[in-house]
C-alpha cells in the first residue's frame, strides 16, 4: 500500500505541465549565473563568493525554493482534498500519520531533486570552483534542509486549511522576508534561517559578517529543524484524523 501511495503521489506531482513551468523558473538563476560569468563584472569588483551567495540567497532561498516547496507541499495533499479524491485515501485502512509522512516525503524528494542541483550549479558557475570555501556543498545542504522543512510545513498547512497556498505565501514573503528584516529576533522562527544555519556547518567563509552572516548557529538550526518537523507531522496527522468528509468552505 505504501509503494502505491508513493508512486501515486509522485505521479500527481511530477507528471504535469507544472513541472515544466517550475523547471523553466529554476533555469533563471543558472541563466543569470552564466550572464554574470561572461560579463565584464566577473573579472573585477566583488569577490565571486559574495556574488554567488547573493545570487543564491536572493533568487533561490528567498524566492524559488519556497515557491517550489509550496507548490509541491500544498499539491501533494491539498490537491487531493480539493479534487475530492482524499475521500478514497482516508477511507483506506492506512494510518493517518503514514499518509502525512508519505506526502511529506514524496514532496520533499521532488522539491529537493529540482532545487538542490540548481543551487549547486549556480554556485559553481559563479564561484568557479566546486570545493572552495565549502560554498557549493554548504548551500546544497541548506537547500536540501529547506526543501524538506518547507514541504513538511506546507503539507501540514494544507491539511488544516483549503487556502494553504496563500497562507504559505504570506508566511514566506511577509514573515520570513519582510518581518524578519525589521525585527531581528523573529529570525529564530524562520525555516530559511534554519537552512542557513545548516549551511554554516560546511561553509568556511570568515569575513566578520560583512556579507556572509548566518544568524543562527548549527545547534539552533538543528533544534529548530526538529521542532518544525515534529510540529508539522503531529499537526498534519491531527488535522487528518479530525478530517470531515463533505463540503468544505
Amino acid at each position: 500500500m505504501n509503494s502505491v501511495l508513493i508512486s501515486l503521489t509522485a505521479r500527481q506531482l511530477l507528471g504535469r505541465r507544472r513541472t515544466l513551468v517550475i523547471g523553466l523558473l529554476l533555469a533563471l538563476p543558472i541563466l543569470i549565473a552564466v550572464i554574470y560569468r561572461f560579463s565584464e563584472e566577473a573579472g573585477s569588483g566583488d569577490a565571486t563568493e559574495e556574488v554567488a551567495l547573493g545570487l543564491v540567497s536572493v533568487m533561490i532561498f528567498t524566492l524559488l525554493l519556497p515557491l517550489v516547496a509550496l507548490v509541491f507541499g500544498t499539491a501533494s495533499l491539498g490537491a487531493e482534498i480539493e479534487d475530492g479524491t482524499a475521500v478514497f485515501l482516508l477511507t483506506k485502512p492506512i494510518e493517518r500519520w503514514r499518509i502525512v509522512a508519505i506526502k511529506v516525503g514524496v514532496a520533499s524528494v521532488a522539491a529537493a531533486l529540482l532545487v538542490v542541483p540548481v543551487t549547486m550549479a549556480t554556485t559553481w558557475i559563479v564561484h568557479e570552483s566546486p570545493t572552495a570555501d565549502g560554498l557549493m556543498a554548504g548551500l546544497g545542504l541548506g537547500a536540501l534542509v529547506a526543501s524538506v522543512l518547507y514541504c513538511a510545513a506546507f503539507v501540514a498547512l494544507s491539511a488544516v486549511t483549503s487556502r494553504a497556498l496563500i497562507f504559505g505565501l504570506i508566511y514566506v514573503f511577509v514573515w520570513e522576508t519582510f518581518a524578519t528584516r525589521i525585527f531581528d529576533s523573529l529570525r529564530w522562527v524562520s525555516i530559511r534561517e534554519y537552512a542557513y544555519g545548516w549551511s554554516d556547518a560546511i561553509i568556511s567563509i570568515n569575513d566578520n559578517g560583512s556579507f556572509y552572516d548566518p544568524h543562527l548557529g548549527v545547534t539552533t538550526a538543528i533544534i529548530g529543524t526538529m521542532v518544525v518537523l515534529a510540529a508539522a507531522c503531529a499537526g498534519g496527522t491531527r488535522a487528518l484524523t479530525r478530517f470531515e468528509i463533505g463540503e468544505r468552505t
Binding site: E41, L63, T74, I166, V174
Partner: protein, 306 residues
C-alpha cells in the same frame, strides 16, 4: 386560474400555464454592471462569504496599514521629524503585500465564476462580455485602494495632526494630496488589470495565484538581479518592461523623488536613477503595460467558453 386564456397570444407557447410576464420598467445594463461591481467588491473583502476570505483580505489590508500606523504613532511620540516610510517609498515598502492581495483576489474574482459555472448566469443578463470584465477590474482596483490610498492618507493626516503648526504644514504639503491620489490610482488600476488578465487564463486557483505572483513579484526580483549585470541600455529596457518597476518609478516621478544618478546596485530608486530616463517614460510604460494587459483580457473574455 383567473388569467387563463387572457395571456398575450403573440407568444407561441405549447402550454400556456397563465403565468404573467413582467412588463414593468427594466433596470438595464448599467444597473447590472453596478450590481456586479458591488458584489465583486464585497467578495474581495469576504463580505457575504465565509470567515477565511475575510481574515485573508482584512489581514493583508492591516499588514499594509502597519507601517503607516507605526509612522504616525512614533511620529506623534518622537516629534514631527520622524518618518519610518515616506510617501514615495510606501508602495515599494509594502510591495509584496499588495502583490499577494492582487494574486489572491484576482484568482478568486474571475476564477470562482468559472469554477462554479456561474458565468452563463451573468451572460444571460443584460451584460456584455466587456462589462463583466470592467466591473471586475473596477472592483479589484477599488479594493486595492484600501492598501494603497488609505495608508498614504493615514500618514498624511497623522503628520498633519502631529505638526506643531497645522495650518502652515498643510500649506506646505497640500500638493501631496494629489500626488497620493494620482500614484495610488495609477498603481491600483495597473495591478488590478495585469493581475486579472493573468488570473483569467486558468481555472485552477493554485495556478492563477502562482502566475500572478510570478508576473508581479518574481519579475521584480529577476529584473533587480539582471540590472546588476547588464549595461544601462538593457537595464532600462528590462525595468520598463517590469510592472513593479514601472509602478514604483511612476510613484517616484509623481513625488519628484528620483535620486540623482546613482550606482545601479542598491535600492530600487537608485536603479531607476541609473536608467536615467525622463520621468514621463515611466508613466507611459505603466499605461502601456496596463493597456496591453487590458487588450489580452478583453480578447480572452470575448472568446471564453461558458
Amino acid at each position: 386560474m383567473a388569467n387563463l386564456g387572457e395571456a398575450p397570444q403573440s407568444r407561441g407557447v405549447v402550454y400556456d400555464l397563465g403565468y404573467r410576464n413582467y412588463d414593468g420598467p427594466r433596470l438595464g445594463r448599467r444597473y447590472a454592471i453596478r450590481s456586479l461591481y458591488v458584489l465583486s467588491l464585497r467578495n474581495t473583502f469576504g463580505l457575504g462569504r465565509g470567515t477565511l476570505p475575510k481574515v485573508l483580505a482584512f489581514g493583508l489590508a492591516l499588514i499594509a496599514l502597519l507601517p503607516a500606523i507605526f509612522t504616525v504613532a512614533f511620529g506623534a511620540l518622537a516629534g514631527e521629524d520622524f518618518e519610518l516610510v515616506e510617501h514615495h517609498e510606501y508602495f515599494g515598502f509594502i510591495g509584496i503585500v499588495i502583490v499577494l492581495f492582487v494574486a489572491a483576489m484576482a484568482s478568486d474574482l474571475v476564477g470562482n465564476d468559472r469554477r462554479n459555472n456561474t458565468l452563463p448566469l451573468y451572460f444571460s443578463r443584460p451584460i456584455e462580455r466587456d462589462d463583466y470584465l470592467l466591473a471586475k477590474i473596477a472592483a479589484l482596483a477599488t479594493a486595492l485602494m484600501s492598501l494603497t490610498l488609505v495608508p498614504q492618507l493615514l500618514v498624511f493626516v497623522g503628520n498633519w495632526l502631529g505638526a506643531t503648526d497645522g495650518t502652515e504644514w498643510l500649506g506646505d504639503n497640500i500638493s501631496d494630496i494629489w500626488r497620493i491620489g494620482a500614484s495610488s490610482t495609477l498603481a491600483s488600476v495597473q495591478l488590478a488589470v495585469i493581475g486579472l488578465a493573468i488570473a483569467m487564463f486558468t481555472t485552477r486557483r493554485a495556478f492563477a495565484l502562482t502566475s500572478v505572483l510570478a508576473a508581479l513579484w518574481f519579475s521584480v526580483v529577476f529584473t533587480g538581479v539582471l540590472v546588476a549585470v547588464l549595461g544601462p541600455g538593457w537595464a532600462a529596457v528590462a525595468m520598463l518592461a517590469t510592472p513593479g518597476y514601472a509602478m514604483n518609478a511612476t510613484t517616484y516621478v509623481i513625488f519628484d523623488a528620483v535620486p540623482a544618478r546613482a550606482d545601479r546596485l542598491g535600492e530600487m530608486a537608485d536603479q531607476v536613477a541609473y536608467a536615467d530616463l525622463p520621468g514621463w517614460t515611466w508613466i507611459v510604460a505603466l499605461v502601456a503595460q496596463t493597456a496591453v494587459a487590458l487588450f489580452f483580457a478583453i480578447r480572452r473574455y470575448r472568446k471564453v467558453t461558458l
